[in-house]
Symmetry: C2
Subunit: 267 residues, 2 copies
């Protein structure tokens, strides 16, 4: 249980003070937060709340979307917010194709450029940028980084303290290269964040909210946890599940189910 | 236009005799057919119909689904049907995980074994098995072969006359390795079938029927056609689009729109 962390997306809509208090009461040592909630509560107030409850902020979601005109200001703000709340990691969802574009190589090049531009500021703020490969079904509209290999290639030019990667089981479970790439990520000290969710079909319309708690689907989640461990990762394991059915339930109940699912299928 | 072929899935529900006559009237030289329609019309009758209309059968969809108990008999039957209708290629959708399984490596191993078992009979019948990598969003329930590299690795142990691959833009467009793998496929004479459909978001529930005619989405389809050409492929270009909105329209209208889309965005 010392590694379990609740990602706030799993209990979307649950007020932050309740989340922090219930995590503390359940012995949960960490939580990954989302910017919209942190902004609404106030970054400094969030930092104080989490500190008072003794719950570490394991990551802040999310920067990225480098195809948008305001990407530069927005990502610097995101790094500021991460520093304020004490998140060691800013998760990057790197963005899709610009409207009307078919230039996937160009979009991928833009991600590389943006990382180069942001890395010095990330070091300055003491926050690690974490490139998250998203499942290829999100390639056009959310993230042109589609594999762990690509994410590691993007991170490679930068100090590992500036740029790491996210290993999220939901996004990479299908990839037969993922085991060798996890080893590579460990050797290069690039695993900034490890998130678990299970793959469930049929996918819902829009495909964003079809994830499952550990054990609900077909991913060998324990194998992933053992693989990142073997690669030298000893950080938090965030349970991050986007599922509208979970959001309709009381946060406390979802938290306790997530903990039980983690114990049975991940730990 | 000498390479355009209509895949029957684009005009699902259109009676086969109409499809054959309208293809002939439009100067379409080939059509990819589906087993359910061929079985309903009769394989020998289908062969006669297509021959009389002067429309070649470019492929038969589909064999595969090697996780099902009846895979052996069913795939041999599929090869028989392909031989009867004169299809040079049997497209394989290799199947997903068995119910309740989390053993992805095991499922992939089963595909390799099945190809080995079927290859001699494919040679005997003069029909090429074509491994189709499907988009990773279908990995659990339709096809554990998720990239062109994987498909080529699976084909490699067998004579190229027995086992080739399908390059379908809808399934592989996101893959940054696809260009080098298309070159590899050409060098090894493995491109058995080339299919085009465009990637459109948001995806519908179930994600099967969300494809677009060429030009409707974000895939650089002409680059793919040029890449397979440069790799030495000179065969048909099947427009294969699964889209419930197209199925609701008269087949003839869809055929003519597919031809126009092919001319503008692929040829």
């Amino acid at each position: 249980m010392n590694r379990f962390a609740l990602n706030q997306a799993t209990t979307k809509g649950w007020p932050l003070p309740e989340l922090a208090r219930e995590c503390a009461a359940a012995g949960v040592a960490g939580a990954g937060l989302w910017r919209e909630d942190v902004q609404a509560y106030g970054p400094a107030a969030t930092a104080a709340l989490m500190r008072d409850c003794g719950v570490a902020v394991t990551s802040l979601c999310r920067g990225g979307f480098f195809e948008r005109p305001d990407w530069w200001d927005d990502n610097r703000r995101a790094l500021d917010e991460a520093a304020t709340v004490g998140a060691p990691v800013l998760v990057l969802v790197c963005g899709g194709l610009p409207p009307g574009s078919r230039d996937l190589d160009g979009a991928r090049g833009r991600v590389a450029d943006a990382l180069g531009a942001l890395a010095p500021y990330a070091l300055e703020r003491g926050v690690r940028l974490a490139v998250e490969p998203l499942h290829p079904m999100f390639c056009s509209d959310r993230c042109v980084v589609s594999s762990l290999r690509q994410a590691l290639d993007l991170a490679a030019p930068h100090p590992s303290a500036a740029v790491g990667v996210v290993v999220d089981t939901y996004h990479v479970w299908w990839d037969d290269e993922v085991w060798t790439q996890i080893e590579r990520a460990g050797r290069a000290d690039r695993i900034a964040c490890f998130q678990v969710a299970d793959w469930v079909t049929p996918l819902p319309a829009g495909v964003l909210l079809g994830r499952g708690l550990p054990g609900a689907g077909c991913v060998d989640l324990r194998r992933f946890r053992e693989a990142v461990d073997a690669a030298g990762y000893a950080g938090p394991v965030e349970v991050e599940v986007f599922d509208a059915a979970l959001w309709a339930r009381p946060g406390r109940s979802v938290l306790h189910e997530a903990i039980a699912a983690y114990r049975t299928h991940v730990a």
